[in-house]
């Protein structure tokens, strides 16, 4: 516990974060790009085609990880919002500002790749079913966060407002899911579920796993990269930034 609180406090200290994150960014980029390359080549070139969907199923190697990651980022933003609200930890807001654009782009890409997948598979790019609709709503929530953050010039007040909106939004996500689910259901059931036998062939699963690791690492790298920039910008008046810049 002592170790945990100490690390928590250290992570909240901008100079410590700035220096500590430097090497992480590099390695996360390397791991991310290599894994994505390996996973994508493997998935596109060396796995058997799906019995029902043919080659078009291969888009899951990008679609599934982006969809999951975008949702994870929204939840992480809400958690960071909570941390900011309770402890006023500046780094939590820095995280939100750095992650929110990536989250929006990933959500948009998940929707886009879903459309591309849907056209050959279901014969239509867009189905108003539970998952598509809730991802669309999630995109709106991301855009709302971005718009609100941009509209309030005062950075602390903006940060607090965004934190509260993110928390209200994250409580809404499961409710949105349930309500859309009830409203109409068309999709195939989720293929990978904890506790259920895996209905996807193992040879198809490995590249998906590698790609997921790759995408997560790359995203973490991008977020850390932007966090470092934001930290520098915010602390521009302080001594340690002057030290960093003069070196």
């Amino acid at each position: 516990m002592n170790w945990f609180t100490r690390t928590f406090h250290k992570m909240g200290s901008p100079p410590f974060f700035y220096r500590g994150a430097k090497n992480w960014v590099k390695w996360l980029y390397v791991i991310g790009l290599v894994s994505l390359l390996v996973g994508t080549v493997w998935g596109l070139g060396f796995t058997p085609a799906d019995r029902l969907q043919g080659d078009s199923f291969r888009i899951i190697y990008l679609h599934v990880p982006t969809a999951h990651l975008s949702q994870l980022i929204y939840i992480a933003i809400a958690v960071a919002g909570f941390v900011y609200l309770v402890w006023r930890m500046k780094m939590a807001d820095v995280f939100i500002v750095s992650a929110v654009w990536l989250g929006a782009w990933l959500t948009a890409f998940a929707l886009f790749s879903g459309i591309v997948w849907g056209i050959p598979t279901w014969g239509t790019g867009w189905v108003w079913d539970a998952r598509t609709t809730s991802v669309l709503v999630q995109l709106f929530l991301f855009l709302g966060l971005i718009a609100l953050r941009t509209a309030i010039p005062n950075s602390q007040r903006g940060a607090l407002a965004v934190a509260i909106l993110a928390i209200v939004g994250v409580i809404n996500i499961p409710i949105i899911k349930y309500s859309v689910d009830w409203f109409t259901t068309l999709h195939q059931p989720a293929s990978i579920q904890i506790g259920n036998p895996i209905s996807i062939d193992v040879s198809m699963l490995w590249p998906l796993l590698v790609n997921t690791i790759g995408l997560y690492s790359l995203a973490a790298g991008v977020i850390l990269y932007y966090m470092r920039i934001h930290v520098l910008r915010r602390e521009r008046g302080s001594d340690w930034v002057r030290d960093v810049l003069s070196n």
């Binding site: 709503v137 709302g144 607090l160 509260i164 909106l165 409710i175 349930y178 309500s179 009830w182 409203f183």
Partner: protein, 223 residues
């Protein structure tokens, strides 16, 4: 006097002096419903009731959002909000009183227009009961989220479009459950899940959203 009643009385009193704040959303409701029925050739037929339900819900949602967009703006400008916070009353209870008053001022008149809208869209009479059973809790949730949106954007000039962007995604569950319940009752399918869901969301919103609104009111004074 309790903080609830103080806020309720005050909001009603001020609202009474600004009747246009209630009348404009009503006019909006009627105009949009008319435009929709005009553009459908020959008007709506009774077989299109499922569509009419969805239209009524969405128009009511937009009108409510318009009506609540200005919540607390005047108190923020004239310093009453400072007084409210400085005197250490329960802001949570006060917010509930104020939102309740706003619901009476703008949502009840809009609900009173729903039969007119339903008639314009030639809605099957058999759904009217279900429509009100769902629209009443639905409009409470809409009003609460509308005030939340308004407090998020306090002090941000020209906030109309921003408000829509922030609030509309949050309206999705109630909209789907409400429209779904009405449509299913029209088709005589089971709707209990939606009915329970919409009332549960209303109770949860009344309980928890005022916390968020009160927090935002404090935040608006902090920086």
């Amino acid at each position: 006097m309790s903080a609830f009643l103080i806020a309720f009385n005050r909001t009603i009193r001020i609202g009474w002096r600004h009747p246009l704040d209630s009348l404009n959303p009503m006019a909006f409701f009627i105009i949009v419903t008319s435009l929709i029925s005009i553009t459908v050739e020959g008007g709506f037929s009774a077989t299109e009731s499922a569509l009419a339900i969805a239209i009524l819900w969405v128009v009511l949602l937009l009108s409510t959002m318009m009506a609540s967009g200005s919540a607390y703006a005047q108190d923020y400008e004239d310093g009453s909000l400072e007084q409210l916070i400085a005197q250490n009353q329960s802001l949570y209870i006060s917010v509930q009183g104020s939102v309740a008053a706003r619901w009476f001022l703008s949502s009840v008149p809009l609900l009173a227009l729903v039969p007119l809208g339903a008639w314009m869209l030639n809605l099957d009479m058999s759904v009217w009961g279900m429509l009100f059973l769902t629209l009443i809790p639905g409009s409470i949730v809409f009003a609460l989220f509308g005030v939340l949106g308004a407090t998020l954007t306090l002090g941000v000039g020209r906030n109309g479009v921003l408000l829509a962007l922030l609030v509309l995604p949050l309206y999705v569950p109630v909209l789907l459950l409400g429209v779904g319940a009405c449509q299913r009752s029209l088709g005589q399918e089971p709707f209990e899940f939606a009915l329970i869901g919409i009332y549960a969301i209303a109770v949860a919103s009344i309980t928890f959203l005022p916390f968020a609104i009160a927090a935002l009111l404090r935040v608006s004074q902090e920086y």
